[in-house]
């Protein structure tokens, strides 16, 4: 997979391009796209320098949704952090919860019981489908409303996602911010008969994935707007830390679920969809293929959920009950729908603050994906920028934290 860097480097546009050669008044138009532009998926602002309709330079500005989650986590105990990080990637909250708790468990040396591992894995896969549904749907919407294959895809996707939210509501009581993971296991057990209902939903969704594929592939407008747009170079993507569907659509066969198994992924064979085109359409097609694969993984795991406890620790009622050792630091990551979602934790040194982390950093895949924009946008037209932002699928809650 290694490509010679010298060959690739000159073809990358320079993100810190000096615009001195342009006369800003005569040649270039600076255009602020966002932060309240409907197609920037939240509060992303991209400053575009345009030569006619062609982008010469793109500078992303983030931070409009900065809530200081990492600072807040320093004041909360390990058990209290879970509901806070739910709000980071608000399209797939289960992943956030798992990512922080995996790091705490690794440092504590606690392994969740098999039933909790299976539940986590099943929830994560179902959540991945829900997240990709939003991604595909809103991307279709970006591509031009009803004509570009847009509003139809969006409504079909939301219809399916509703079924998934109902499933999670049945387990956790919440439709969105579940707060169901905890250090050492889960808070809520599966209700009776949930596996049958979940399988029915998964069968229904996986039978319908061909619809989304056909919506995109059979639509000449969509193909014209997405094919060959924003080709991501695999070496550049790796250096930037971009992972997940973006990397896999560029021909890099890497998925943490298969290559560094965690949870119950070690018990199951995973087919990782990879495409080599690297363009916007390939990223959408990888996501659709992943939805199908996730439905298969979740259905298979639902057959073999072991009986037993759902938590390794006693039910953690006291919020200060989980304590890590002096100054320990560690990192754990999971494969979220957008790529590698990890947590770096440094435990406190003072005995007084042992119940809360000294430093916690959330390594969010969207932040890395946003840093790809200065490389992707130059050379494309203004209308392509909308397609590019939609195809890298950033969640601003996770970028800004």
């Amino acid at each position: 997979m290694r490509m010679p860097l010298d060959l690739l480097l000159p073809s990358w546009p320079d993100p810190h391009l000096d615009l001195g050669e342009y006369d800003p008044e005569a040649d270039l138009v600076a255009l602020n796209m966002g932060p309240q532009h409907p197609s920037t998926h939240g509060v992303l602002r991209v400053k575009l320098y345009l030569d006619g309709e062609t982008v010469v330079k793109a500078v992303p500005y983030v931070g409009y949704l900065h809530r200081g989650v990492e600072k807040l986590c320093e004041k909360l105990t390990y058990v209290q952090i879970t509901p806070i990080v739910d709000k980071n990637d608000y399209v797939s909250p289960m992943m956030n919860e798992w990512a922080v708790n995996a790091a705490f468990e690794a440092l504590l040396g606690v392994e969740p019981p098999p039933r909790a591992q299976y539940m986590r894995t099943i929830f994560a896969e179902i959540q991945r489908i829900a997240s990709h549904l939003i991604s595909i749907g809103t991307w279709g919407l970006d591509m031009g409303g009803a004509i570009g294959g847009g509003a139809t895809v969006f409504l079909y996707c939301l219809r399916e996602r509703e079924l998934i939210l109902d499933l999670f509501e049945e387990v956790t009581g919440c439709r969105f911010h579940y707060n169901t993971h905890t250090v050492g296991g889960m808070r809520h057990d599966l209700p009776a008969g949930w596996d049958k209902r979940a399988k029915a939903v998964l069968d229904r969704i996986s039978a319908r994935t061909w619809e989304y594929e056909r919506f995109l592939l059979d639509n000449p407008i969509c193909r014209q707007r997405a094919e060959g747009i924003a080709v991501v170079d695999p070496t550049l993507a790796m250096e930037l830390g971009v992972s997940g569907p973006i990397l896999r659509a560029s021909g890099v066969d890497y998925d943490m679920r298969r290559d560094a198994p965690y949870g119950a992924y070690g018990d199951i064979d995973i087919q990782v969809p990879v495409r080599t085109e690297g363009d916007a359409l390939a990223r959408a097609l990888v996501r659709i293929a992943e939805m199908r694969e996730s439905a298969r993984i979740a259905s298979t795991l639902l057959d073999g959920v072991p009986e037993g406890p759902i938590g390794a620790l006693k039910p953690v009622k006291l919020h200060g009950a989980v304590k890590l050792k002096d100054g320990e630091e560690g990192y754990a990551a999971i494969e979220s729908p957008r790529g590698e979602l990890g947590t770096y934790v440094v435990a406190a040194r003072e005995r007084r603050g042992a119940a809360s982390p000294y430093r916690l950093k959330i390594r969010s895949p969207s932040y890395h994906a946003i840093s790809l924009l200065p490389w992707l946008c130059p050379g494309h037209t203004l209308s392509d920028v909308v397609v590019i932002i939609g195809s890298i699928d950033p969640i601003m809650g996770e970028v800004d934290r």
Partner: protein, 169 residues
Amino acid sequence: MPPRHEPLPADVAAWACEFLGVDELPPEGPFVPRDRLVEFATALKNDHDFLFFVYCAATHYLAEGEPGSDGALPDRTVVAYRVRRLPDRRRGRPTQTFPFRVVVPTGESTPSLAGVWVGADWQEREQLDLVGTVFQGHPDPRRVMMPDDWPGHPLRRDYAIDTAHFPWR
């Protein structure tokens, strides 16, 4: 019980021991002297295939009140990097990560790794903004999360969480 830390890859650990002149590496990653950081990182990337930049995270430590340090350690920032090499199926090598750390005393700077991995650009910008670590030679040292005129760096340990700012934003 799962391992507390992912084991360091043996070949790189042996090379790093030789490079740094130590016998053993801590599982959280070795401390690299600042003046040899760029050399170390370049060798990791070019000779050992660590192409994937995972993250860079700075942690601020206060000088006083450090148990086990007799107060001799100054006010400092520890920058932790982590890089990864993707699986090589032809050689049967699994995916491996390698963490390393740098100690930056407050008031001094550390070389930027943005020239080695381009991904370090935005990661270091975030640490510069939130923790206040100065990265020498960074191509774009602007704030990324906080407003440009924001006083202080919120993730420093001496920055109180309820620090008042006027006007409220």
